[in-house]
Assembly symmetry: none
Homo-oligomer: 416 residues x 2
């Protein structure tokens, strides 16, 4: 398979002022062409380092993609580095000048000299048109290696990749394709999930050219499958086979795939059935309902929520008996159940959910440590609460509680 | 000045699945130590490339920071690469095992072998404790060069940088210092803020070695001041002088500095005065209360909130007259005011806040487009609502509404 290196240029990256989103965008596009990204490098706006980095990449890789440092000001020196790397000088490109004139006319601004100079491009390159900005890109082919140079402005670079660079690479490197699938789990730790899956060789037989990676996060562990094959059908069937083997071993923990979040999965399940939901949040402070309402159309099934932070709110708005709080404490199985039941009764919804816990850092007692959480659930048949211990970190406790609450509802709906 | 290279490890970066935020975070912290980041590299989870990249960086730089690939599963090989790079084997570290045991006990999960193995660390390193995760970090000093290796999970790495690596580097490389200060504004567009500030030369006289950058976001425009000086006192006084000049020109729009969020500023203001708050959220769906309750100790002033997504909830739980909704619609000045008044009355708090709007993509009419929002406010003296038009993008409308609601309360409290 063809290999690639992505080189991003700019001091703003080296001081951490800007998060590098171009790398991930370019990597995804190359991947879709069946080109494997072997490495990424970031260098500042300095000629010697740029030239050394370009040359090293051209020696090792089939494809080199460079972004950044093509602007009109003194600190942009990528064009000079490209010229020195290939031992060429600048030449005038009429279509680039016309594009620059068109852009300035559209903005009603006078064309100044530094922008006119951007129509000078390295000799021997194929110009990559930039309809959204003044800096054209360059495409070189030397000794079987392709190098594309584009500006660092994300939307300019993205359009240039889509319209020119990707189509060129697809023609130039036909053959292998790469497919990914991310299987999203929750409610099980990375190490326990690995144990549950058993020997990796059985899930992905070495002959199949599929790899498996574990990606943990507070929302759960994601399992990423990657398949490399000569055509899309083979790549997709290898992924599907591996996914089926994973599902056979850990289906209960899997709530979705790829970009799908748990709130989207739940939204689909509720909408299909015409079911509705009310939530009583204490320790999650509104996070669950914020997530649920991020989904377009969620007003069809999210009726209302209560963030009952004070005990008085639990009593007045949810009808939790004050004696229950006095006897068991607000963070208890009994109160979690009463909250879920109360929210459901007020709203007349299919389901009621609740959270009560100690997010910390304050509020803990000897019997009730930071991270202790009860999640309540109520439906027409009754109610229950589940106890969790989520450890420290206020935001993390909120996130893990929200995920566990949504997952509890998913399992109840699907009876898994 | 000392130079550094940041190496991030992980196939998820090379396929573009994850945007690399660790690089920017680490670059900022090194900058604050007066260490210049010369280059960044990203490599996959493969031993030979990792070792070659580590060795090349150790030859060229004073400081090498590595993150990623320290997890407990088969695809994590950074520890082996570190051992091979320095020609050492693994050794058992008792404090690391105790930390792993503590984490598993906190989660109520059994400790399994792969996690116990994470207490094996490269011989001759100083262990960098990881209180938030099971993988310890390593710090090496060889031939005048420092190498720090940490996991790639952002919040674990960030805590390890803050608590161990940065203090170590500050002692190890004294000299030039860089200071940053970010002044956070909201409620004013970037171009209008620039106009309000006037000539940049007057805010930061060229002699002072201070730079100013405008960083826009949905929460508002941040102004970042950077000062380079031979000592901390000089750097800090230059920054303070520039900040004073900015405040003189735009004080009403400035709600905080650096990492301080609007919810923290509000929390301080409310706590100092012993005042309390209830919120009635419709289009923000719980986001405002989620933000308020991210602040430790917020239970002192956040009494309760209502996420009244359905009209029935607005009527039953907030006492909004059904006729008002019929006559003006749920997204109206009248309903916003009634929601804020109702929440405040139920809770008996100092303030009531409310939001009602069209987050989209559905729900718009000719008279009420996506992005139309009313924010309500109530106190003992009365109530009002403010109309906003926030454009498209469901999450963006929620975020801009939440920020505007919190800012309205800040200005009411401070009477600015």
């Amino acid at each position: 398979m063809a290999t690639a290196e992505i080189i991003t240029v700019g001091d703003e990256l080296l001081i951490g002022q800007v998060i590098n989103t171009n790398q991930a965008f370019i990597a995804q596009r190359l991947n879709e062409c069946g080109i494997v990204v072997s490495a990424m490098a970031t260098v500042g706006d300095r000629l010697p380092e740029m030239i050394a980095t370009f040359r090293a990449a051209l020696e090792r890789r089939d494809v080199v993609i460079v972004t950044g440092g093509l602007g009109p000001t003194h600190d942009d020196v990528t064009r000079s580095a490209v010229c020195e790397t290939f031992g060429v000088t600048l030449t005038f490109d009429q279509p680039s000048l016309e594009n620059i004139e068109r852009l300035f006319a559209g903005r009603g601004q006078p064309l100044i000299r530094v922008n006119r100079d951007q129509a000078m491009v390295p000799e021997g390159c194929t110009v990559v048109p930039n309809l959204l900005g003044t800096a054209p890109g360059y495409l070189f082919e030397r000794n079987g290696c392709v190098m594309a140079v584009m500006p660092g402005v994300p939307y300019e670079m993205q359009a240039m990749m889509r319209e020119t660079v990707v189509p060129f690479l697809m023609r130039r490197f036909p053959g292998q394709v790469v497919r990914h699938r991310t299987i999203k789990t929750t409610g099980i730790a990375e190490s326990l999930l690995a144990k549950q899956l058993g020997a990796i060789d059985e899930i992905i037989p070495p002959a199949e050219r599929v790899t498996l990676a574990f990606l943990p996060s507070p929302a759960g562990v994601r399992l990423r499958l990657t398949s490399v094959a000569p055509d899309a059908a083979t790549a997709e069937s290898s992924i599907a086979a591996a996914e089926a083997r994973i599902r056979a071993k850990a289906s209960a923990y899997i709530y979705g795939v790829d970009e799908e979040d748990l709130e989207e999965v739940l939204g689909r399940l509720l909408k299909e059935r015409g079911w509705t939901l009310a939530v009583a949040e204490s320790c999650t402070g509104g996070l669950i309902t914020d997530r649920l309402t991020n989904v377009p159309g969620s007003s069809a099934y999210v009726d209302r929520s209560y963030v009952t932070y004070s005990n008085a709110a639990k009593v007045r708005d949810l009808g939790v008996p004050a004696e229950l709080i006095d006897r068991y404490g607000a963070v208890s199985e009994e109160v979690a159940i009463a909250m879920a039941v109360g929210a459901r009764a007020n709203a007349g919804t299919t389901f009621g959910l609740s959270t009560t816990g100690i997010a910390g850092p304050g509020g803990a007692t000897e019997a009730k440590p930071v991270g202790l959480v009860y999640v309540g659930y109520a439906d027409a048949d009754g109610a229950l609460a589940v106890r969790f211990t989520f450890g420290e970190g206020r935001r993390r406790v909120k996130e893990r509680t929200a995920q566990a609450t949504l997952e509890l509802l998913r399992r109840k709906i699907l009876k898994v």
